[in-house]
Symmetry: C2
């Protein structure tokens, strides 16, 4: 046996990410249960054979039986859930998550958690512009990056299991960063890009622009369709880093604007050549 | 006969766009000739049956025989070419172009042009991150927008022919704007987006970021691979408009930054909801 499918997996929060986790893991033969708010989501997921069983409230049996618990909740809901329900975990259970910020979550949860349960944090860097379990797909993670963010209190076994989980899910790259490195990186690569996209989308309310748009504007604003409740929470949870990244972007953008005002063609071309050379690094392999 | 394929078409500048024009128009059965700098491009295009014949210098016969001349050159090269070679046009010839800026080109060329030749300007809003005739494809214009930018001196016939050309090439939408409206629109939808992409690509030189990137960063920087000679020229030719758009973007981006600094969650969520609602308009139909 290569994969120990006798382990029972519980997913808390059965939306796009939770549902996609369930779809992939169910294929391996794991017993998958879910706790999520809406009975209709449980019903759908059972009918679609994405999960084996589920409940709409913290269920003693489901939680008590789970060897691995995956949390796919908003950050503050995750923290509250652990506060209220951690007594129900099986002793020796491993818990992990999908939260998009780490510093504000990981230490807080590790500090409050029962000593016989371990939390190893991870961030699956994948998503879609639609949400909900009915939009979950088993190919969501193909080609994407999965980041495990251990702290000094994590055991090598937990880090290894979490890394294996990323591989099972189909991620192309599984990497390890500290919570601090993760938040710095995500502030730039993800949060700053979302700030730019929503600004571009809202800074010009001229009508009929969509009739003339090319693919470049569409590309830069794809992520401007955004879950405002979740992303505002993620922004605030990484406020210091994101503010610094926004300042850095404004400085560089203003430099370019000043070069244009001064008709400094050489300077503009230098930036463009730098940009072109650096972008090559980011091509999908 | 629906399409008058007895008309001879000359393409000046056989790169990605010129080559893609040639590929589509050749399929209809037009006689296509090309003038371009490199003999190897002529050779390739003849071998690939993209054109019927070509020359590396302004050729009296090719120019004198052409009923429709399509210019796919850098703006300043286009203007210089007309200055030097317009005596060679056939009387009654129609000329058009693919130039990405209009105010600085259209009036200048119409003012200097022989009275028996008409210039009707157009902008095919399509491209790829690669260049050269060998990367030209006959599907480049599918789903894209084509904008005709007539002035009061243009005849209804010329506007109609240019519009038909856009339809023949396969553009999904063919629209008409004044040169001023065009430059305003393109300053926002295309030039500002390129400024943002190259800034995002160059504002953080941290190593190994590509190992952690998700699709959002890739999307926002796809166009950061940029032809510096061409785009710096386009930026400068639309300097007033682009500077104004850059200022507008900075103002709005700074507002968002200030809301984050003040932890104004309601304000941030309002921008996100505005962004989400507005982005729906720009989905491809």
């Amino acid at each position: 046996m290569i994969v120990d499918t006798s382990k029972k997996i519980l997913i808390v929060g059965l939306g796009l990410l939770g549902g996609s986790y369930a779809r992939v893991l169910k294929r391996f033969g794991f017993h998958i249960s879910a706790i999520t708010l809406e009975q209709s989501d449980i019903d759908y997921a059972c009918r679609a054979h994405i999960i084996d069983e589920g409940a709409t409230a913290p269920d003693e049996r489901l939680i008590g039986e789970a060897d691995l618990v995956i949390f796919a909740l908003y950050p503050h809901v995750f923290v509250e859930w652990i506060e209220k329900n951690q007594a129900l975990f099986k002793s020796g259970a491993l818990i992990t998550d999908v939260t998009g910020v780490k510093r504000s979550i990981v230490y807080q949860i590790q500090d409050m958690l029962r000593p016989d349960v371990e939390f190893i944090a991870a961030h699956p860097m994948a998503g879609r512009e639609v949400s909900g379990v009915e939009n979950s797909i088993d190919t969501l993670f193909i080609g994407a990056n999965y980041i495990v963010t251990p702290t000094p209190t994590n055991t090598p076994e937990a880090i290894k299991t979490c890394t294996e989980l990323g591989r099972l899910l189909g991620f192309a790259n599984v990497a390890t960063l500290s919570p601090e490195e993760h938040d710095e990186m995500i502030g730039f690569l993800s949060q700053l890009t979302h700030c730019i996209a929503i600004t571009l989308m809202t800074c010009n309310d001229k009508e009929n622009l969509e009739k003339f748009t090319g693919d470049s504007f569409r590309d830069l604003t794809r992520i401007a369709k955004i879950n405002d409740a979740m992303w505002s929470e993620l922004f605030l949870a990484n406020k210091d880093v994101l503010l610094e990244q926004m300042r850095m972007f404004i400085d560089k953008f203003t430099e370019l604007k000043d070069m244009l005002a001064a008709e400094d063609t050489d300077g503009i071309r230098r930036v463009m050549r730098h940009s072109t050379a650096r972008r090559v690094l980011f091509d999908k392999k």
